[in-house]
Amino acid sequence: MKPSRKNPSPGVFSGLNRKTFDHHDSTGYMKKFGKGHSEELVRVISEDKGEPKWMLDLRLRAYRHFFKAPLPSFGPDLSKLDLDGICYFAKAADKKGGFKSWEAVPKEIKNTFERLGIPEAERKILAGVGAQYESEVIYHKIEKEWARQGVIFLDMDVALQKHPDLVKKYFMKVVPITDHKFMALHGAMWSGGTFLYIPKGVKVEKPLQAYFRMNARSMGQFEHTLIIIDDGAKGHYIEGCSAPKYGSSALHAGCVEIYVGKNAKLRYSSVENWSKDTYNLNTKRAILSKNAVIEWVGGNMGSGVTMLYPASILKGDNAKADHLGIAFANAGQIQDTGSKVFHIGKNTSSRVIMKSLSKGGGQSVYRGDLRIAKTATNAISQVECDALILDPKSSSETIPNIESANDTATINHEARVGRLNEEDVFYLMSRGIPQEEAEAMIVNGFINPIVRELPLEYAVEMNRLIQMEMENKVA
């Protein structure tokens, strides 16, 4: 049967609509900690987790720096973000390291995950699942195969306990606490997240995934993901997020640090669909060694205000980065996203394909930064960012910054902005396809180069999410 709006192709999340995502379980555990931040809270968090001293020191240094650092001087207005009104830490269960099996997870938490389709997904495609519920990892499982090969896939807190030297070697080195204000806050308050280490020469074919969930009112999320792909290794990591709708602002200031070793490769896929009142101020950055390759494939659908610029540092010779992304800004949303690439080694190359959509007054902004260092001989970079503005109310901005300090670089940047081509829509309608569906088909065609790079089930989710956004009348 051909997939259509009434009968979408079966996928993991096909039975869901926005209502599912917006469901929340009332939880009593939020009463344990109040709102706001303080140095005392930072110490309590560290003590509660039983962290080594160097981590507490890092948190304190970060906290102090947070006060010194100013808000970003560019991008959307963050003045409505009330940093004192957010709860920075809570525990839903006292057990660390997750549960050994699905059966052991508490019922109310299980309900939430079941509605989101985690168990089916886990059975079907995933190698291991790390899920975060209110800043604490509840459920975690690693398939025996990966454990045998030495793949470490744990929640960040547990990784700090079990592999402190490995964590210390890499933690907040790619994105230091001084990078910007929200990284300082992150350094102080971080909790949970994923630690993934793939040893030398190991190639993990099945994608590894972690799923976050923000639930209670005004939650701040500061998960820290640290991915290390050692020399000659290969992996595919999928990050997907969802949070229910709330009145007061929720803040997401997570951090993803990635190291790709010599001759290694990582594909990092993410579908971010945060609630419409969230501030998504994530920082994602990768540093590449010789002959390393990274592929960022992402979709940004939700959140109220997003500032997200995945960055690739091509330090080693012949390193390569691919940034493929979609951003959809619907009514009341500002998607300020882009890609940053720094060419440092010789013969490095990068390709950025960004497709953005804006509808119902949404604002989509592409903010790119491409820099060729003096040492980056023979760098090649190709950037294409196209924007489709779906109605007269919406807007699109493209602000790429290109700098070159090496005369052997070849850089090309192109962008096209417009609306749905009336003739194309008319053509499809003349073949019996109703207008809304015709428009959806063309939009899908527009984003297809990105979507087809996602694993099948996620491609379906992406298409469904876009459809939902297209159908969404003013919020």
């Binding site: 007269p392 807007s395 070159s404 300090a405 052997t408 090309n412």
Partner: protein
């Protein structure tokens, strides 16, 4: 104070120059076609310049104005503010050839307002000044057209920061911004630009392009072409490229006995000269520009 420039035209009827408190105003009468280029030539001087010029092109008027800054213009600092109003249905071609002394520091602001159904074509050739900060803004009315071509070449330790903005406020406007630059030695060349299409400017077609040749391992080049589009009934785009001369092209020339040095010179000149083809009716301008290459 003597006027810092001379105005030369084959016929002066319809051209009025006034000295006001704030600066100078130049008016071209409405409903006239001005034959031959009107030349505004800046006089040789060592004194610092602070000039404000306001130009009005009358309704339905048609003219070509060539603004020249020769190398004997040698002040330590030059501040230049020029406002051009091209009234409804006028047709203006404005060409600037800037080759001031390489010891001068020049800051200029150029604002052009293009009235409904008017057409303006601007060509800017920048070779001189030690430091140049240039900000050109064009504001385009309904059914009007404005094309800006900025050609710049930096040598030695020159620093050029050239910003070209264009904004569309009326319906069905058209415009293209084309920036072509060559950076040599240890110079810095920066092209910035913002193309804005307002909510009221449905039917606009606009494009912004920045192309730079970075010929030296010690030169620094940057391009920031930005788009701010606030309505969807548009066709807009931008492109930027930074590259060196193509080794394949150099090989082709070498295969005909043209050595590398000569080949580089030919290709660099070719890159900048492509624009001159459009000014075939102004052979003097073509000659002047070519002489600076």
């Amino acid at each position: 104070m003597p006027i810092p420039f001379d105005i030369l035209a084959p016929e002066t009827r319809g051209i009025t120059l006034k000295v006001t408190k704030g600066g100078y105003t130049l008016t071209l009468a409405a409903n006239r076609t001005f034959e031959g280029p009107i030349l505004i030539k800046f006089r040789p001087t060592d004194k610092n310049l602070n000039i404000s010029l306001s130009v009005t092109i009358g309704k339905n008027a048609k003219a070509t104005i060539v603004e020249e800054w020769p190398s004997d213009v040698r002040p330590a600092t030059i501040n230049y503010d020029v406002r051009i109003a091209a009234n409804e249905k006028s047709d203006l071609r404005w060409i600037t050839i800037q080759n001031v002394a390489k010891t001068s520091i020049m800051a200029e602001k150029r604002k052009t307002t293009i009235g409904n159904k008017a057409e303006v074509n601007i060509y800017s050739f920048d070779f001189g000044a030690k430091r140049l900060e240039s900000h050109c803004e064009q504001s385009i009315g309904a059914e009007a057209e404005c094309n800006l071509t900025s050609v710049a070449r930096t040598q030695g330790t020159q620093h050029f920061d050239i910003i070209c903005d264009e904004s569309f406020t009326g319906k069905s406007g058209r415009g293209e911004i084309r920036c072509k630059g060559v950076a040599q030695d240890t110079s810095h060349l920066k092209f910035g630009g913002l193309l804005t299409i307002e909510k009221t400017a449905g039917g606009t077609q606009a494009y912004l392009k920045q192309e730079t040749l970075n010929l030296s391992s010690k030169a620094k080049v940057s391009a920031t072409p930005a788009l701010n589009i606030k309505t969807n009934d548009v066709k807009a785009g931008h492109g930027a490229s930074i590259r060196n001369l193509s080794p394949e092209e150099l090989f082709y020339l070498a295969s005909r006995g043209i050595n590398e040095k000569m080949g580089k010179k030919m290709l660099t000149e070719a890159f900048l000269k492509e624009v001159l083809n459009e000014l075939a009716d102004l052979p003097d301008v073509q000659k002047r520009v070519t002489s600076f290459l």
